[in-house]
Symmetry: C2
Subunit: 486 residues, 2 copies
C-alpha cells in the first residue's frame, strides 16, 4: 500500500468514529434517558479522547511527509489538503490546552444553562472568564504570530479573515438598518391567533422535508428541544420542534435543517467517510439551510402553495389570503433572540456578536465588560434595551462551549445564499412558477449539482464562485432583501 | 498513580467505549434508517477495531505484571481478575484469526438471514463450514491443550465445563421428557382468538416493566423485530414486539428483558464503567430474566393479577377465569422454535444444540452433517419431524455470528433460576399473596440484594451459591417444573 492509501485507510476509520460520536450527540438530544447524563459525559469524553489521539497521531505526519502532492489527482489532493490542515492545527495546540478546553466546554455549558435559567450573569462570569483565557491561548498558539481571531475563524470558515468579514459587515449594516426602519415603519400583518395541532404540525414537517428533497431512507425526523441536523453520508438525521400557536417555528426550522441535511446526503458517494464527505465549511452549510428556508421557503411563490397546504391541514386559521400569509411569514418583530429573527434583522444580531468576540480575542474586552458592551450595542442597533440576560448575553450557547469565531459563519451563509440565489434565478427562469405549485426540486437539484455534490472538494469561496459565477459579496443578498422587503 | 489506578483509568475508557458500541447496536435495531446499513457496518468495524486494540494493548500486560494481587481489597482483586482473564484470552488468539472471525461473523449473519428467508440450507453451508473451521482454530488456540469446547464456553460462562453441563443435562432430560409427555397427554386450554390492540399492548408492556422494577429514568422501551436488553449502568434500554393475536409475546418478552435490564441497572454504582459493572455471566443473566418471566411472571398468583389487568386493558378476550388464564399462559405447544417454547420443553431445545455444537467443535460432526443430525435428533426428542429449515437448522442466529458455546448458558440460567426461586420462597413466605396483588417488589428486591447488586464481584456459581445457599444443580428447577406442570 502507498503512503496515501495507508493514510486514507486510517482516516476512513477516524471518519467512521466521528460519525459514531455525532450519533451519540443525536441520541443525547432525542432518545437518551434523563438519568444517563452522567454516564454519557464519560462516554463522550472517552470517544473524544480516541478521536483526538487519532487526529494527532504522529503516523499521520510520517504519511504526509511521504506523499508527493504534485502526483495526486484533484480528489486525492483535496483529501490530503484537509488532513494536513487538520493535523497541522492540532499539532500547534499543546495537549494540556486541548484537554482543558474540552473539559471546560462541557462544564461551562451546564453552568451557562443554569445561569440562563436563573437570569444570573454573575454565575456564568467565572466560567466565561476561564474560557476566554483558554481561547486566547488557543488562538495565539494557532496563529503563530498571525491574527488571533483569524486563527479561530479558520476552524469554521477556512480562507476567510476577520478583516474581510468586518468589511462585508460594514457594507451591510447601514443598508440593513435602513431597510429595517422602513419596514418597521409600515403596516405589519397581525400575529396569528390559532392553535395548530402538534401531530399535524409534525406530519406537515415530514412532508415538507420530503418536498425539499430529504431522503427518509437515509435519515429520520424527530422532535428535540433545539432543531439540528446530524451526520453525514447515508445516515443524516434532523430534528424539529413544535409550538402550539406558532406553526412557522416547526415549518421553517424543518426546512432549514433539511437544507443542512440534504447537503450532506447529496455529496457524491465516492467521498463517503473521507474528509470530502462532509459540508466544506459552516458558511457554505448555512448557505444551503438559509436558501432553502428563506429565498425558497419564504418566497411569495412558495408561501402561496404552503398557504393551501396549511389550510388543508388545519382548516381556516385566520389568515385571509396568500398575500396576507406571505406577509405574516415574513413579519418583522421587535425581538431579542437571534434564532427567532427575520431575514432583515438576523445579520444585525451576528454583527453584534462578531464585533464583541473579536474585541475579546484581541484583548480589548474582558468577560466582566461583556454584558454592558452587549446591552449598549444592542440598544444602538435595535433601538430598545435588552430586558433580561436570557435575551442578551446569555441567549446563545456558543461562547460557553468554546465556539469562538463561529458566529460570522451564519452571516457568511446568508451572503453565499444571496449569490447562489442570483445564479439560480438565471439558471431556472421559471423558478417562481415551479415554487407556486410546491415543486422545489428544480431549485434543489440545481443546488445539488452546483454545490452539494462536491462535498469538501473545493475551498469555500472557490465553490461559491464556481457555482454562482460571482465573487462572493454582500451585494446580491442586499439586493434580494431590498426587493423583497422594500 | 499506582499501576492499578492507571490500569483502571484505561479500563474505564474501554468500558465507556464498549457502552457506545452497544448503543450503536441498539440504534441499528430501533432507530437506524434502512439506507444506512452499509455505512453502519463500517462504523461498527471501526469501533470494534478500537476496542480490540485496547483489549489487547501490551500496556495492560505491563500494568498487570506490576500489581501484587495479594495486597488488593476484594473489589480491586475482582477487577484485576476480570481484566487479566480477558487479556490472557485475547493474547492467545492470533490477530489474523480474530480479524477473520469478526469479518465472517458479520457477513455470515447476512448469508444466514437470506438462507433462512429462502429456506435454503445449501446457501448457508459454505459460510457455516468456514465459521466452524475458524471456531475450531480459536478453540484450540484458547484451550492450549485443554478441552476445546470448554475454552469457548468459558467466554460466556466462566468456571463451567462441557462435562458438567452434559451431566446436568443428562439428569434433566428424562424427567423433562416424562413431564412433557404427561402434560401433552392431558387436556390443554384452547388458543386465544382475539385481536389485542397493539398500542394497548405497548402501554401494558411499559406498565409491566415498571411493575418488575425497571427504572425508566435510566432506560427506555421501544419496539424492535427481536426483543433485547442493551447497555449497563445508567443507560439500559429494552425492546419488545407485539403480535396482534398473541399478547403473551409482548408481555413475556418484556418481563424477560426487564429481568436482564434491572440486573444491569441494580449493580452497585461503585462498579459503574468497571469490569464489575455488568452481569457476571450469561447464565446468571439468564437466571434473572427467566425467574422474572417464569417463576414470577407465569406463576398462578401473578397471572391471577395479570388476568385482571388484561381485562381492564382489552375487555373480555375470551378467557373465562383466572384458572383458565393461568393454563393458557402456560400452555404446551407442539412447536419447533426455541424462543417460543414453554418452560418444560425449552431446555430440550438447548440440549439438542449443545450436543451438536460440542460434537462439531470436537471434530465429530461437519457442517454438511448438521441438518440431518439436527432433524433426526429433533424427531427423537420431540416426536415429530422438522417441517422446514427455518424451523430447524436455520432457526437461530448464533452459529452464523460466531456464538459457539453460548447455547448452554440459556439452560444454566434456568437451573440457577430454580435454585434462586427455592431460596426466594423461603426468604419471602408470603410471596404468592404479594404476587396475587401485582406486588413483585418483594421478590425483585430480594434478587437485587442477593444477586444483582454484586455485578461481577463473585464468580457465577459462587454467586448463586451465596444467594441461594445451594450448590447449583438441576434438582430445584425440576422440582419446581414438576410441581407446576405435573
Amino acid at each position: 500500500m502507498s503512503a496515501y492509501d495507508e493514510l486514507m485507510a486510517f482516516q476512513r476509520q477516524t471518519e467512521a468514529l466521528g460519525q459514531i460520536a455525532g450519533r451519540l450527540g443525536w441520541d443525547q438530544e432525542t432518545m437518551m434517558p434523563e438519568g444517563a447524563a452522567g454516564q454519557r459525559a464519560e462516554e463522550f469524553a472517552a470517544m473524544e479522547s480516541v478521536l483526538h489521539a487519532r487526529k494527532t497521531h504522529p503516523q499521520i505526519g510520517e504519511w504526509l511527509a511521504k506523499i508527493d502532492a504534485s502526483t495526486l489527482d484533484p480528489v486525492s489532493a483535496a483529501n490530503v489538503r484537509h488532513i494536513a490542515r487538520s493535523f497541522e492545527r492540532s499539532q500547534r495546540i499543546p495537549p494540556k490546552l486541548a484537554e482543558a478546553i474540552a473539559k471546560l466546554s462541557s462544564s461551562a455549558q451546564r453552568i451557562w444553562a443554569d445561569a440562563r435559567e436563573r437570569e444570573d450573569v454573575a454565575a456564568f462570569l467565572p466560567a466565561l472568564e476561564e474560557m476566554i483565557a483558554l481561547k486566547r491561548d488557543e488562538a495565539s498558539a494557532l496563529a503563530q504570530g498571525g491574527d488571533a481571531y483569524d486563527a479561530l475563524l479558520d476552524d469554521y470558515e477556512p480562507d476567510t479573515s476577520g478583516e474581510d468579514v468586518a468589511a462585508t459587515f460594514a457594507a451591510m449594516r447601514p443598508r440593513l438598518v435602513a431597510l429595517r426602519d422602513k419596514v418597521m415603519g409600515a403596516d405589519q400583518p397581525p400575529e396569528l391567533k390559532f392553535e395548530f395541532d402538534e401531530q399535524k404540525q409534525m406530519r406537515l414537517a415530514r412532508s415538507l422535508a420530503k418536498t425539499f428533497g430529504y431522503d427518509m431512507q437515509k435519515g429520520r425526523l424527530d422532535k428535540a428541544v433545539h432543531p439540528f441536523s446530524s451526520g453525514s453520508g447515508d445516515d443524516v438525521r434532523i430534528t424539529t420542534r413544535t409550538a402550539l400557536t406558532d406553526p412557522f417555528n416547526s415549518i421553517y426550522s424543518t426546512i432549514h435543517e433539511t437544507g443542512h441535511a440534504t447537503y450532506e446526503q447529496n455529496i457524491a458517494s465516492e467521498h463517503l467517510l473521507t474528509p470530502l464527505g462532509g459540508g466544506v465549511s459552516l458558511g457554505v452549510h448555512e448557505s444551503q439551510s438559509r436558501i432553502y428556508e428563506n429565498q425558497l421557503g419564504r418566497s411569495r411563490a412558495f408561501t402561496g402553495w404552503l398557504f393551501g397546504q396549511m389550510k388543508d391541514a388545519f382548516g381556516d386559521f385566520g389568515v385571509a389570503n396568500e398575500d396576507v400569509f406571505f406577509r405574516t411569514v415574513n413579519r418583522l418583530n421587535k425581538g431579542y433572540i437571534r434564532t427567532e429573527s427575520d431575514e432583515v434583522q438576523y445579520n444585525l444580531h451576528i454583527m453584534l456578536r462578531f464585533d464583541l468576540e473579536r474585541d475579546v480575542i484581541a484583548g480589548k474586552l474582558e468577560a466582566s465588560d461583556l454584558e454592558e458592551a452587549w446591552n449598549s450595542r444592542f440598544e444602538a442597533d435595535f433601538g430598545y434595551a435588552v430586558d433580561k440576560p436570557s435575551n442578551g448575553l446569555l441567549q446563545d450557547v456558543h461562547w460557553s462551549c468554546g465556539l469562538w469565531g463561529y458566529f460570522p459563519t451564519y452571516a457568511l451563509g446568508n451572503v453565499y445564499a444571496g449569490c447562489l440565489y442570483e445564479a439560480l434565478r438565471v439558471a431556472r427562469p421559471n423558478l417562481d412558477s415551479e415554487l407556486a405549485v410546491g415543486n422545489v426540486s428544480g431549485a434543489t437539484e440545481w443546488l445539488k449539482d452546483a454545490v452539494q455534490i462536491h462535498g469538501g472538494l473545493y475551498r469555500p469561496t472557490e465553490l461559491i464562485e464556481r457555482a454562482s459565477g460571482l465573487v462572493p459579496s454582500e451585494g446580491p443578498l442586499l439586493g434580494y432583501l431590498e426587493r423583497k422587503f422594500g
